[in-house]
Chain length 145, copies 2
Amino acid sequence: MQRVLAAFRQRGYKVTPQRRAVLQVIADCDGHLTPGDIHKRVCEEHPGVGLVTVYRTLDILAEMGLICEVHPDDRRRSYLLRRPDEHHHHLICSTCGRVVDFTGCQLEELEKKLCRETGFSIEGHLLEFVGRCPSCQEKVTYWAS
Amino acid sequence: MQRVLAAFRQRGYKVTPQRRAVLQVIADCDGHLTPGDIHKRVCEEHPGVGLVTVYRTLDILAEMGLICEVHPDDRRRSYLLRRPDEHHHHLICSTCGRVVDFTGCQLEELEKKLCRETGFSIEGHLLEFVGRCPSCQEKVTYWAS
DNA sequence: GTGCCAGATGAAAACCATTTTCACTTACTG
DNA sequence: CAGTAAGTGAAAATGGTTTTCATCTGGCAC
């Protein structure tokens, strides 16, 4: 946390109570949060913080690579704290939103094959798994048709 | 094409000139198109067609599994004709938007491993590659810094 | 500590893709 | 060919995100 704040100052970004609060909320959550979710939680402790400030802080955190974006639905983004440092992907619970990181996507082989076969120079890939986490699997039993 | 129109009627959807036009535009394009793109192209031939109608037709086509959705950016969706019938993914040119389909993602292994290690019941995955297609790689040489 | 000022903030308005509403039209069925 | 359920376009509503702008403040210089 202190390290993050130092990194902020180092890049010329000021450390404000609002930014601390946003960062705290993201760090305290083990799932992903939309900007709106974050705003709501920040306001519980610090009423009056603007949604705009949340968006601006998220932009900075994303630019610094401290948070990751996931795509639980089309219409909006959602963010979570970046936990592993290396290249990794997410497994997202479709019911509660909990996120598990995993590394070792082993797509390099496939990437090379695609390069060879299509002539594309590949710049990156988007990979996410969705499923139901153990505790949501239990819950769901009751209202499954 | 005739087969698609028949499938439409079979499901109780009427075949209208507007729907034909939308379908034609998608079939004639070998990249992905946003609803707005499709609307523009449809209007070149059939002015007066509403953007709403394009959205509605896309909903039907997606529901019937005749088109796929890709995610070239966060803010909007983009569609393309579904070419292979089986499970497949897309390699998208970041410059011109051309899309190449590929099958054989070989993520079953990884999926099983994740199931075992996390206890999630996995429902699906999202995989897209982005890169630059051969002709865009040439073009880009001139204005690369 | 005090003052300065670039950078940060919040409110409100703008944006823009998408969806809804509604009065009108039309493709299919009988 | 008529009846009707389904489809259409215009306009308004929605909702997430971004911009604008007047005001405020964190961190540096003194």
